[in-house]
Symmetry: C2
């Protein structure tokens, strides 16, 4: 090759590099984001979902897209995670949307409402029943783009210092309880309380509160409620399938290359299925330990209590829907979907589980 | 810049490009793979899961990693998809591992075995109960790396030309049925048949077979079985939560950059949760149409039939475990896990669903 040719070729090489470089930078830029979780690190299930997500994103991008996960309270209080996303203080959070029913009760449908969908039905609604479209339309008003990111399954009904047998036993009962469920039991005369995870145990021990619900055996065991409130009720009718979500600031979401949006979407879906699987794998051992060694006494809510709460919930929805158009729109879609789902689930799923439960009991 | 400097700079530019290029190629190479599905395109649920997966991978890699999806029979017969992966004819397939029980009945645990785990429990076992570690250890012998990639939920028990009321009614019954279930009903005197999806309808219409199971309402409706075999039984006790899987040739898997492995893993998990959600969203409408307009007559399997099949399945497992160490190892782990799962599911999940089903029936 002659010198002149070499220079030309080198020049072309530079030009090509100059064109190619921004394209590469654009499609796989180095990005560092912060994600605030609403949960403490000690809950490897629910806090762990954000780590599963962050790790998947880092691996998929060869470490170029780093999402640092902070526990609730580290940089943002757990119950203000969504606000931090709305304001752009952080790019993302992992939270339970129903923590924000004070802003608008419509938030609750993204997590769980009393007597709502179970875990699988909630995913069916989100992904293939129009649920995420409806919720994201609503979340836009808060600068939030949301993706489902975990489910607990049906939660337990919580820990009670004394047995409750009739709806009247809720009268005057001081209970730590989340989401819209507080308003439901208030209709039965109870006094709902919002208390952060770490403060529940001392309140229950001192008798400042009479009862508290958290999640289920595996998480509850860590908090030790069985030692101070032995009656462990079920089912948690206010959380038939509680969904966690990854919230992203809409402007930050829009700035991402399409490939990164796709990577976040897949990673969130993986965290979603993985967190439910983890709860389902860990809860059986925990419920055995709590009952066999921890003094927990399992009690089902009586049919009278379930019926009274169902009626109170239905009344509550009608009241809110009367004054909140967002809520009414999502509620009507959600409840229509619920009725179709249980029509179907009662056939194969339910009769199969019924048989398997009976066979197990026979040994 | 002087000419000499320019040449030097250009030379450095070239050198940098020469170093950078393989690095870029290594971390995000252009790859084209072929994935053969075991299913026809008409099943947008189960075939669709492979498309969901392939689309997610292409988007996450800016189109660099293309996985072309072929329907069953296009390049490989549906029931030989795993063989094509083992031999390296294709890099991947999307299939039901229990199609290959003829090679080794151990394959079945990756999909579903009679009276096995439900959909959520199957995921719990795979992701957090040691299930995928066990299965992938076994699959290594077939050059397969597997990832769960979809679930149907509890399937229906299939379409019967005549009512069956007692275990004796299985005697002589010719039924199209998959996996190990054929060996179970054979113990009751039935004659199980392996027939591909498209050939079931004519066989049922002519009476060459007396009964056929496929999946559930949404898929079954497309095949029109209700027109020739009106009795629609439930539950499909041989598929409490049938899992589909993405099989990748282990050598091809090992060749991938870590980032691509991570992208495939997330995409498979997304397809997994998405396919179940799609079935759960589509089945309710289909079961209503089949019963209200299609003449389907719903029938539960009688307790006597369920008990007899349970006993036959348990006997079958003991027989196989006696001669197959792989099967015994996975079976023992799987069944121990099942017992723990139903201990837990009977508490919150089951009582919640029970109440919701009763409330729905009240209207």
């Amino acid at each position: 090759m002659k010198r002149r040719q070499f220079v030309q070729a080198a020049g072309l090489g530079l030009a090509a590099a100059a064109i190619a470089k921004p394209a590469i930078a654009q499609s796989a830029p180095e990005i560092k984001w912060r994600l605030t979780s609403s949960f403490p690190k000690s809950l490897d299930t629910i806090y762990g979902a954000a780590e599963t997500f962050s790790k998947a994103v880092a691996e998929a991008t060869d470490g170029k897209f780093q999402i640092q996960v902070f526990a609730g309270g580290e940089i943002v209080p757990g119950l203000q995670a969504a606000d931090a996303v709305t304001n752009g203080t952080v790019e993302m959070c992992h939270t339970a949307p129903y923590y924000y029913v004070g802003k608008d009760p419509t938030f609750a449908f993204a997590t769980s409402v009393p007597f709502g969908l179970n875990s699988r039905q909630q995913n069916a609604w989100f992904y293939h029943g129009g649920g995420m479209d409806l919720m994201n339309e609503f979340f836009k008003g808060f600068n939030i783009h949301s993706m489902p990111g975990g489910n607990t399954g049906t939660q337990m009904g919580g820990w009670f210092r004394k047995e409750i047998k009739t709806p009247a036993d809720f009268n005057g009962l001081k209970m730590r309880i989340g989401g819209l469920a507080g308003k439901v039991i208030a209709k039965l005369g109870a006094v709902p309380q919002q208390i952060a995870g770490g403060d529940i145990y001392p309140a229950l021990e001192k008798g400042t509160i009479d009862a508290a619900e958290w999640v289920g055996p595996y998480d509850d065991e860590k908090l030790g409620f069985n030692k101070v409130a032995p009656f462990y009720y079920y089912p948690g009718w206010w959380e038939g399938g509680a969904s966690l979500h990854f919230f992203t600031n809409t402007a930050k979401w829009a700035e991402l290359p399409k490939s990164y949006q796709a990577i976040l979407t897949s990673a969130a879906a993986m965290a979603n299925v993985d967190m439910q699987a983890k709860y389902d794998a860990r809860n059986p051992g925990a419920i055995k330990r709590l009952v066999q060694d921890g003094g927990a006494q399992l009690r089902p809510f009586s049919p009278e209590i379930m019926e009274a709460c169902y009626k109170a919930a239905t009344d509550l929805y009608a009241e809110i829907a009367g004054t909140n158009a967002n809520f009414k729109k999502v509620h009507d879609a959600y409840m229509a979907f619920r009725n179709e789902e249980y029509l179907w689930f009662q056939i194969g799923e339910y009769t199969y589980d019924s048989f398997m439960i009976r066979q197990r009991a026979k040994g």
